[in-house]
């Protein structure tokens, strides 16, 4: 099986550790994952803001980059949803039949990480170790657009050492919403404040989710509140092992606060 990682533009530029975690995790599970260098973005920022024409070349780049793979794995419910549900709309708008045909090939092969692990690889225990108190936020697109259901929780429950606590009002949107977070910043923040409050109520040390964009929003609020709760992508917890935990020192040197800018 030829498996490609669609790392997503947000992870590529802002959260490379998530991409590295997916690579480590999949290799540990015996998957020889490839990173097609031609990939960029799924096009969702354009589509969801109404710029369909602008999304056409981006979707074209996506289908070209991932053509020929048996599975495309992405650590984002939102980007998987975009590939599966929005690419066809963009292709139709372009009037380009070849693009529509290519989308029909890549769309059904695109899996969000937890779907790929549970449905394609058939594993729920990925051999992870993470001795921390964790709460899980199901992001809207993974929950409602993809319907990943309980897959992420099943994966987390199998992690050794973890204390998984329920998040109150878990299924309510965090208020990120892509450009909504900027265009309607006040409403977005009002929603995020309630989400952050629910997270704090759990007493968790780590908030985990399958989308770093939502986590950037909730985590940004928790950080501003000095709440003492960090956010982590699902992939990073699933990639953790007793060994990595023992010399885990938080972020890479080049990302650390106050670190030498060498």
């Amino acid at each position: 099986m030829r498996v490609a990682l669609q790392v997503t533009c947000v992870n590529d530029a802002m959260f490379p550790d998530t991409g590295k975690a997916v690579v480590r995790l999949l290799r540990r599970l015996g998957v020889d994952v490839d990173f097609p260098r031609a990939q960029t973005c799924c096009g969702q920022p354009m589509v969801n803001t109404g710029y369909l024409d602008e999304a056409v070349p981006v979707v074209r780049t996506f289908v070209d980059a991932f053509a020929g793979y048996d599975a495309i794995v992405t650590p984002s419910g939102s980007c998987a949803g975009s590939a599966r549900h929005q690419h066809a709309i963009v292709a139709e708008r372009s009037g380009d039949r070849a693009l529509a045909a290519a989308v029909a090939e890549t769309a059904p092969k695109t899996y969000e990480l937890s779907e790929f692990l549970v449905d394609v690889l058939g594993v729920t225990d990925v051999g992870a170790y993470f001795p921390h108190r964790v709460t899980y936020h199901p992001t809207c697109h993974s929950l409602r657009m993809l319907g990943v259901g309980e897959r992420p929780q099943r994966l987390l429950e199998a992690v050794r050492g973890i204390t998984l606590v329920d998040l109150p009002e878990a299924t309510e949107c965090c208020g990120f919403g892509g450009t909504f977070a900027l265009k309607n910043a006040d409403t977005s923040v009002a929603m995020g404040a309630d989400k952050a409050r629910h997270v704090r109520d759990t007493g968790a040390e780590v908030l985990v989710a399958g989308d770093n964009s939502c986590l950037m929003h909730i985590g940004g609020m928790l950080s501003r509140q000095r709440a003492g709760v960090r956010v982590m992508h699902l992939a990073e917890i699933l990639a953790s092992t007793a060994e990595s935990e023992s010399h885990s020192s938080g972020p890479a040197v080049g990302e650390r606060a106050g670190g030498p800018a060498t």
């Binding site: 533009c9 530029a13 803001t49 710029y51 369909l52 602008e54 890479a252 650390r256």
Partner: protein, 498 residues
């Protein structure tokens, strides 16, 4: 008595900002939406074949819309056969003029009203007032809104933004101006408030010669109009006066009597969270010696054919005004209905208003963006309107309407630049390198450490301030994933991170 007006409302983000600061509103809405939401969830969970029922409901409305012209002609013929008079109104102005003319013909200076979204949409009360005719709202919540010179903020519960203390105050202050005053010992107990409203309205029911209603459904094959309500006040209006005028949107038509079956099962559970609706009134034209002896039906377009012509958006015409989407919407719950600047607020309003009116004005054009696209609305919609997809499609309509602008918006320029960078991975790699260098500077000057130890960027200027005003932002990492993959040969020779 004049109510407020939505005319001149600012765009959603501005209106929302003000609403978010109204602590009483926030508290009232959070309480009320949660209550209805929980009630709905409980009674929907009881129905084993709920998903099939949703499909059936969507099917009934979709079939009616697919052949709308035929069904409307059948409806007209059935209504006329049953003794009703049918009027056709292209827009709000025509519809209001028809109702005013009929009221004048009967020499009345007041009408009683059944709660009706269509008449709110066309501004009938204000139009009648200009003609010297008082239109009395008799639905309890609509009456509260009217007495308070206020605007409705919810489809089902127009006074949802008010709590009982505020309602008591409105009754004490205003009831006496327009009829029987509230008793001096009025308390804010719901049963006491309802009794005051009952005594106040009874006078109007018994006096009125003309009633105005809408309709939840219009059955084409039998010429039957249906009004679904909870209080019985609607039935008072539908049965006591001599003349009944119903303003009915053309999308309310269903083909047959049996089509009502799924609709009347879906609506109460989705709307009020009840298993069965308390007062369901149906009437087919005139029944001699029983009820109104003169029955008029005004069939209203007012943008509905415009929405019908929209391939993606037409599904919004399936809407049965249950307001389930409002009650689950995290945006609506926090901003309330007034921020949407329309009698149709919430997720359905965010698509219905632009579909009915177009997106040429700034306020309407802001509505499709008043959503985080979380999808909770689609999940609860009894007629399966895919609101998130229509929202995105309406956003495209807004963007397309600006494609000819001589000076493009900053957002359009940014999107074009992003599309350019995202169309070639080499351009993206270059941009990431630049952002990594920027991150190096930000980290050097950064004063904030994110939980977990990563450095935060400082406060951003310009549009970025919308983010960093309330949220910390990680500084971009020095090395992108792509650069790491290249440097380490796909992680094969990763000897520690840089």
């Amino acid at each position: 008595m004049s109510g407020g007006t939505f005319v001149g409302m600012p765009a959603f983000p501005t209106a929302a900002r003000e609403a978010l600061g109204d602590t009483q509103l926030r508290s009232n809405l959070a309480h009320a939406t949660r209550t209805i939401r929980d009630k709905r969830a409980a009674v929907v969970a009881e129905v084993e074949d709920w998903e099939d029922l949703r499909l059936a409901g969507a099917g009934v409305k979709e079939a009616a819309l697919r052949d709308l012209a035929t069904h409307l002609e059948t409806l007209e013929a059935s209504l006329v056969r049953a003794g009703a008079t049918v009027h056709w109104a292209r827009d709000a102005e025509e519809a209001c003029a028809i109702v005013a003319r009929l009221a004048h013909a009967h020499g009345v200076d007041e009408v009683v009203k059944v709660k009706s979204m269509a008449t709110m949409e066309i501004g009938l009360n204000e139009a009648l007032e200009a003609e010297g005719i008082a239109a009395w709202e008799t639905d309890l919540a609509e009456m509260i809104v009217q007495l308070g010179d206020d605007l409705p903020s919810h489809i089902l519960v127009p006074a949802i933004h008010r709590n009982r203390a505020e309602i008591r105050e409105i009754f004490m202050r205003r009831m006496g101006d327009v009829g029987r005053p509230a008793p001096d010992d009025l308390t804010d107990e719901p049963v006491v408030l309802a009794a005051a409203a009952r005594a106040h309205l009874r006078e109007k029911f018994l006096r009125a010669k003309v009633a105005v209603s809408g309709a939840n459904f219009a059955v084409a094959d039998t010429g039957t109009l249906v009004v679904v309500e909870s209080e019985g006040n609607g039935r008072m209006c539908l049965t006591l006066p001599d003349v009944l005028i119903s303003v009915v949107g053309i999308e309310k038509v269903v083909a047959t009597w049996s089509d009502l079956d799924p609709m009347l099962r879906l609506l109460p559970r989705s709307s009020t969270g009840e298993r069965m609706n308390p007062y369901t009134s149906t009437w087919s034209g005139v029944t001699p010696g029983d009820g109104p002896q003169e029955v008029h039906v005004v069939l209203l377009d007012n943008g509905r054919t415009r929405a019908l012509a929209d391939d993606v958006g037409r599904q919004a015409l399936r809407c049965i005004r249950c307001s389930a989407c409002l009650n689950v919407c995290p945006v609506y719950e926090r901003t309330g209905g007034h921020a949407y600047g329309s009698v149709y607020p919430g997720p359905i309003g965010a698509i219905l208003n632009p579909l009915l009116r177009g997106v040429s004005d700034e306020q309407t054009a802001s509505l499709p963006y008043a959503s985080s696209l979380c999808g909770a609305c689609f999940e609860v919609c009894p007629v399966r309107i895919d609101i998130p997809s229509v929202l995105v499609d309406q956003r495209a309509a807004v963007v397309d309407s600006h494609r000819g602008d001589r000076v493009p918006k900053a957002e359009a320029v940014a999107m074009k630049a992003a599309a350019w960078a995202f169309s070639d991975s080499r351009r993206l790699a270059w941009a990431e390198k630049a952002s990594g260098l920027g991150g190096r500077v930000l980290r050097r000057f950064g004063r904030t450490t994110l939980p977990g130890g990563r450095a935060a960027a400082g406060r951003l200027p310009g549009p970025g301030a919308g983010w960093t005003g309330a949220r910390d932002l990680p500084a971009p990492p020095e090395e992108s994933f792509r650069a790491w993959w290249d440097r380490t040969d796909g992680g094969q020779n990763d000897r520690g991170t840089r």
